[in-house]
Structure formats: structure tokens, C-alpha cells
Symmetry: C2
Subunit: 332 residues, 2 copies
């Protein structure tokens, strides 16, 4: 049994390319005491991975050079010396970008493929769903009737943010790139308005869709879109800083929001979130979201790419806005 | 009786210069019903005035071309047809940059020159004091033992912010320009540390004075100092956006904080404040601050410039960091 792995070969400057990765094949190691061997089924591809490739202090340790690239995964336990897991269990955990994981079960939990397709545990039922849930509810504080804008609206986090805001009685405007994504947001997910940033100037689009201004903005992209939103926020607006995918591959410094003094004029707030802070409440959130899914109020879409070797290119789809729904890589 | 006035002649591009103003002399108008005539004693000079000179939406209407420049003032009622005020009363109100004001008493209130020198009602007992009080307490939320950093620390707002944070049991670091100001902050106001940004590189200064990071930052200046602070904030830090004096005379767009993603990494918050929102609670705040002044815990300093005609140059002292304490212009 051989294990293909992607190791971080070199820290990227700007966009990650083939030379940042080493694809290697190793033996699947023997298990020690209280360990599990997992055959990986799906690998989660997330914008945050770009940050993990950088050196330096962040909310989580950087991936070391020569180490398996960090990734959330779902897979099946095929061997276990840990009494908490047995052969055949399906699990969520951080196996990394490889086909087999052998090691501690810390941070792993069981998932049930009869309740939802496995890949969904990487999306709406996984970290992106949790990020959306806690970010929009605890930091965005959406009130019925308010206008909520979300960027990256067809992505794993954004699509859930918008749907939760709809459930809470808000008017929801999504920002996404391309007609297909925009149609999906309106027709499938029930967004009230969309701005297709690839086909409409962003200021004009926000003026058209948010004539009375913006109460809550959930930001996944940063850059010019954040700056444009700042010109239209209402009094006491809340901006949730979840990410800034437009800036992650910058070789120059990040573009700070020039219009940040709009926070002053409008007594508004901009606040950062990291999903891990809510770990103690994941269960409660998952239960509530499962209820919404069952009622048909919360829909999910995954974008599955086949072929483990395609990892480097697949990751780049995120930064090119080419994924439509939660992006996952099939591991075999 | 003649009334000298400064009218806004032209909106500035960049730094205001002599050509932005018309100094005129008019007759003091007759009073209508329910009006007051005020002889202005002191005119408050504030960074916010630069914003009022611009066209466009802000938290307050712009000053119109040809109108008397807006300013907070203290003065004496010398004639009144308003039963709420009588001749001899000293008042705070928005008389503007002129020597006599005739008009409605809306927004005016009496002040008592026996309790404090008149000019103090433009500083610690006026809008700057209120801005500091509500900004640091309600938005900064300082906790005992936390590190609070304030920029423009020797100014009208910053000096009060730092002293209130000390009263609340915080470790207080002031950022100011020049040895005199820094000595004053340490020796007179009891700040724990200072960074003299004119004589020490700001990142180095913050590293030296905030080795464990920054819990609360009260920002009066924006620009590079805000960006440097963002690199040292602690988890759940609060940044109070009160002003950005370094940016007000920009002819290009405002420098947005490049390091704003530190808000994400540190789950931190950046929030704007405008003092007027707290008008209903000014009385309570003034009473508490008067108590601190009486106990010697809160000290005030005013920088008085003589000569009404010097208004244009005096205003520029703010942007050059030349004032030391609350800047006021004597009106006669």
C-alpha cells in the first residue's frame, strides 16, 4: 500500500506554482499505540491554505517545509489501535493532502455518510459552514429587514452566510463572478439581489442593489470590493472580516481599505473572526443547520475535482474564482 | 460694534491655506425673537474642522462656501431675547469663527467660569473630553491590567483618553511628537510609557513599550502609526477610530491600513465613534470627570493662541503637531 503525498517544498512568493510542491510516494507507516489509519476520500481546498504556506505568526502555525500540506479531510478508518475508533468508521479530521493518514486521532470525529454525502462534511456541515454560522450570527448580528451583503457569495462560506441571513429575515445581496453563479444564488438559494463583479462595476452594482445602504457586510475577498462596500455602509454597520482572497497572493503589501474612515462617519465596526474559537459550540450549530437543511432552507453545493495529482492546479481555482460551491479534491 | 468673521471662501485641496478663507468685518446683527447675542471669548480648533471644509456626505453637513466657519466656542451673552439666557451668562455653543454670534440658542448651554477657566470648557470639559470619555470607555472597553495605546497623546482628546485608562487600572502608552510632550505625559499625566514618533521608529517604539502587545488602541492619527499598531495587537483587541489627522490633508486617497487582516488573525475589532451620539449622557460624563479633576486624577492643558486674525495659521498647528494640549484661539 503506497501513500501519495503533497509536501510543501518551498514557500511561495505570490501565486503558488508547481515548484512549491513535492509529490512523493511513501509507504503507509505502521500504527503505534492509540492511533488510527485513515484512507482519505475527500480533501478540502480552502483559501486559508495560502496563508498556512507563509512563514510567520498567524492564527495557526505555518506548515513546515518538507511537511505534508495541512488540509481538512474526510475518510474511512481502515485500521485502529485507538479504542475510540474502529475499522469502517468514517471520520472528519486533518489528514492533510495525502491518501493515507496514520497517527493520533486528536481533532478527529465521526461522520455519518447515511445522513449526508461525505464531501458535505467538508462544506456546509464542516468548517466553512461553521465559519459562516458563527461569523454571520455572532459578529454580523443581522436583524430582520436589514441589508446583508456577502462577497464570495457562491463559495463554501458565502453561500451559507447568505442563506442564514435570509433565514433571519434579512434582505440579502450576493457578490459573485459570472452569470452561472449569480443565477444559482437567485434561483436556487433565494438571494434577493446579486452583483456580478465580472460584468458590473462594483460601485454601480452596490448602488443598484443596496439603494438604502448596507447594514452587514461579510467579507471573504478584501481589496476593491471591501473599499466599495465601505462607501455604502449604514449607521452602526457591522463588517465581518472572514478573509481577503483577493490579497493572499499579493507580492506587494496588502491593499488596506482606503475608505476605512467610513467606519468613523457611520459609527461602524469591522471585526475579524476565526472559526476555531467556537469549537465548543460546533455541535449546537451543526444541529441547527441540519434542521434548516431538512426543512429545505439551507442548500449546499460541492465542486468535486478528481485526481489526487491535480492538487496544485485545483488549489489555484479558488484564487481565480473558478470553483462553484465548496471545492474538494477526490483523494484517489 | 463690528464683527470679524472667517468665511469659507473655497474648499481646500490638501492643506488649507490663506486663500481658503475670507476675513470680513460686518455689523453685529439685531436680535430677533428668542435669540442671543454672544461675545465670543475662545474658539476651539479641532482636527475635525478640516473635514467640515470638504464637500460631500459625512457625519455632519459641510460648511457652505461663503458661510462663517463652524467652530465650538465659549463666550458671554451680552444681549438676549431668549428667556433661557440672560445678559452676563457664560455659554458654550457653536458660534463659529467670529467675534460675535447672534441667533438661536439651540445647542448652547451655560458654563461656570468660577468652576474652571473658560477655555477648559472647550477641552476636557467640552467635546474633546466627551469624545475621550465615551470613546475609551464604551468602545475601547479597557480592563484593568490591559495595555492601552493612544496616539495624539498630548492632544485634547488623547491626553484625556490616557488619563481615563490609567484611572481604570490600565498600563498606558502614549504616542506623541517631541521630548516636551513626552516628558509631560510621563511626569504630569502619569502615563507608563511614551513613544516619541519624531525620534524613534514607530515599530521599534511599540515593541519596546508594548512587549506583550496592545489590547486597546485609541487612534487619532491613522496612517503609518495605525498600521504599526495593527502588527502588535493582542487577541480580541479593540481599536477605537476617533480620527486620522495624518490623512486629512491628503490630496491622494487616504492610506488604508495595510495590516487590517491582523483584525482577523487576532479576532480584533476596529470601530468608529462620533461624540454627538452620546449627547444624552454628557451630563453624567461631565460630573464624573469633574470628580476626577477635583481628586487630581485628571489634568488639563490648553494651548491658547492670541489674535483672531491668526486663525488660518493656528488651525494648521494641529496638522503639524505644533499644539501642546487643547488648541484654542482667543477671539478678541
Amino acid at each position: 500500500m503506497k501513500n501519495k503525498q503533497f509536501l510543501l517544498a518551498k514557500r511561495p512568493v505570490g501565486e503558488p506554482t508547481a515548484e512549491n510542491w513535492d509529490l512523493v510516494e511513501t509507504d503507509v507507516p505502521e500504527l503505534g499505540d492509540k492511533e488510527i489509519l485513515v484512507k482519505v476520500n475527500y480533501i478540502s481546498l480552502d483559501p486559508a491554505m495560502r496563508g498556512w504556506m507563509n512563514d510567520g505568526k498567524s492564527y495557526i502555525e505555518p506548515v513546515q517545509i518538507g511537511a505534508v500540506m495541512r488540509a481538512g479531510t474526510v475518510g474511512q478508518v481502515i485500521k485502529s489501535t485507538d479504542p475510540a475508533f474502529e475499522e469502517g468508521d468514517y471520520v472528519y479530521g486533518g489528514c492533510g493532502v495525502q491518501q493515507y493518514y496514520a497517527g493520533t486521532s486528536q481533532g478527529f470525529h465521526k461522520v455519518d455518510p447515511r445522513l449526508a454525502p461525505l464531501e458535505r462534511y467538508l462544506g456546509v456541515l464542516g468548517m466553512p459552514g461553521m465559519t459562516a454560522y458563527f461569523g454571520i450570527l455572532d459578529t454580523g448580528l443581522p436583524q430582520p429587514g436589514e441589508t446583508v451583503v456577502v462577497s464570495g457569495a457562491a463559495g463554501a462560506v458565502g453561500s451559507v452566510v447568505g442563506q442564514i441571513a435570509k433565514i433571519k429575515g434579512c434582505r440579502v445581496v450576493g457578490i459573485a463572478g459570472g452569470q452561472d453563479k449569480c443565477d444559482y444564488l437567485i434561483n436556487e438559494l433565494g438571494f434577493d439581489e446579486v452583483v456580478d463583479y465580472k460584468n458590473e462595476e462594483i460601485h454601480a452594482g452596490l448602488k443598484r442593489t443596496c439603494p438604502k445602504g448596507i447594514d452587514v457586510y461579510f467579507d471573504n475577498v478584501g481589496g476593491d470590493i471591501l473599499d466599495a462596500v465601505l462607501t455604502r455602509i449604514r449607521m452602526k454597520a457591522r463588517i465581518v472580516v472572514c478573509g481577503a482572497i483577493s490579497q493572499y497572493n499579493n507580492t506587494e503589501s496588502v491593499k488596506g481599505p482606503s475608505n476605512y474612515l467610513s467606519l468613523l462617519v457611520n459609527r461602524a465596526r469591522m471585526e475579524g473572526i476565526v472559526v476555531f474559537d467556537n469549537a465548543a459550540n460546533y455541535g449546537k450549530a451543526a444541529a441547527e443547520m441540519a434542521g434548516w437543511i431538512a426543512e429545505g432552507k439551507l442548500k449546499a453545493k460541492e465542486h468535486i475535482v478528481e485526481g489526487f495529482e491535480n492538487f496544485p492546479d485545483t488549489l489555484m481555482m479558488l484564487f481565480r474564482g473558478e470553483n462553484f460551491g465548496k471545492l474538494v479534491l477526490k483523494a484517489d
